[in-house]
Amino acid sequence: MSNIFLLMLTAILTENFIFSKFLGICPFLGVSEKPDTALGMGMAVTFVMTISSTVTYGVYHFLLAPFGLEYLQTIAFILIIASLVQFIEMFLRRFVPALYSALGIYLPLITTNCAVLGAALLNISEGYTFLESVLYGFSAALGFTLAIVLFAGVRERLKYADPPKAFVGFPLLLITAGLVAMAFSGFSGFSFS
């Protein structure tokens, strides 16, 4: 039990997907304009990542591995993720239109969010059990949400900044992300295992 708790804490803080593994940087820089949109994106990613971790575990261990088709995992996983995102898109449009319009074009973008595919591939390469895979996907996504919401908060302040011209826009965002990453690297001092 404590093992699982450690796994989750590590995934959220010390090995944060954004700041330590560099997975999901595109939405992190793209959708962090406002904290509430960032939170919506984080929730959508959490949802997709938890489900995709579950499904890809099943597909790998019961469909690919028995037939020696492990080398097809990348293709199989990306197809699963793409169809999941499509499904969630239809579901949200029908039942939660407010969240759907808030997420807008970023929802289909989750398909190409490397965090989702990365979590699925990591689950396999780390040899996690079923429960561990699901929890790892879930907590890594929580870490993603934490990072993106915090960053959106910092970014709101940037609107009032007056940087040198060459830094306007993306360079400044990267520098800011670097500073937030420094704060997160403080967590790596903890040793959980």
């Binding site: 700041f19 330590s20 593994k21 560099f22 997975l23 999901g24 940087i25 595109c26 820089l29 793209g30 080398y71 097809l72 995992q73 990348t74 293709i75 990306i78 197809l79 793409a82 074009i105 970023y106 289909p108 973008l109 398909t111 190409t112 969010n113 490397c114 595919l117 990365g118 591939l121 990591l122 390469s125 040198p164 011209k165 060459a166 830094f167 306007v168 826009g169 993306f170 360079p171 400044l172 965002l173 990267l174 520098i175 992300a177 670097g178 500073l179 990453a181 420094m182 997160f184 690297s185």
Partner: protein
Amino acid sequence: MQHTFWRQMRRGIFDENPIFVQFLGMCSALAVTTSVVNALGMGLSVTAVLVCSNLFISLLRSFIPKQVRIASFIIVISGFVTAVDLIVKAFLPAISKSLGLFIPLIVVNCIILARAEAFASKNGPVPSLVDGLACGIGYTLAITALAFVRELFGTGVLFAAADGTGGLRVFGSWYAPVTIFIMPAGAFLTLGVLCALFNTLRGAVAKKEAAAVAEKPAQEETDGSAEPETPETAAEPAPETPSADAASPAAESAGPIGPIEERQG
């Protein structure tokens, strides 16, 4: 023909550099740039996938139904990524080990999907192949530059092998490595500074070209060129370059979210 080739190359490498201008494929750019060898390995892998996928998608473009094109592109791309993954694993096991997850993750590298959507699905095989090559080289150069700075200052050694041995010791033994450069935070900071430098460079080049195009340079331009500061237009990732590149299709400015935007419609 010759002319178009160089213009395409220049666009991929400089005017619309995937990393510095379009900000595509950031994840891998930040993650693998702890050493120059890793960055080169990653750059070559991405270039190989990009060239192949652009060529094939261009050849298949009249057979792919519009509604399912994104899914079709992803399948083509992931086929090539799997091939590259297996090849790297077989022949360069050390690089495969240190790049790890990021080789299969080329599937979701936005550069490849963006080029497929914005260029290969609208153009013939030869221009698409050149476009893939140009963007791949642009990406490789950008991440190699980033890796060069990070490895040089972060370890004091250059061109260390993928398993961390060997390499060229640049500084003497007095040099205490600044480890922040190879830490994750250093990746963001270094890339931010490089982006700003690139912006300044682009601004200067654009200004020079504008001055060359106008037969007699206007008075205010000669005034402005004295200061090294970037003009306002170049500070932002302007999709349309001020050069005579008006022929580029409008979809070129699609950027990372362009393909998906169209898919929504």
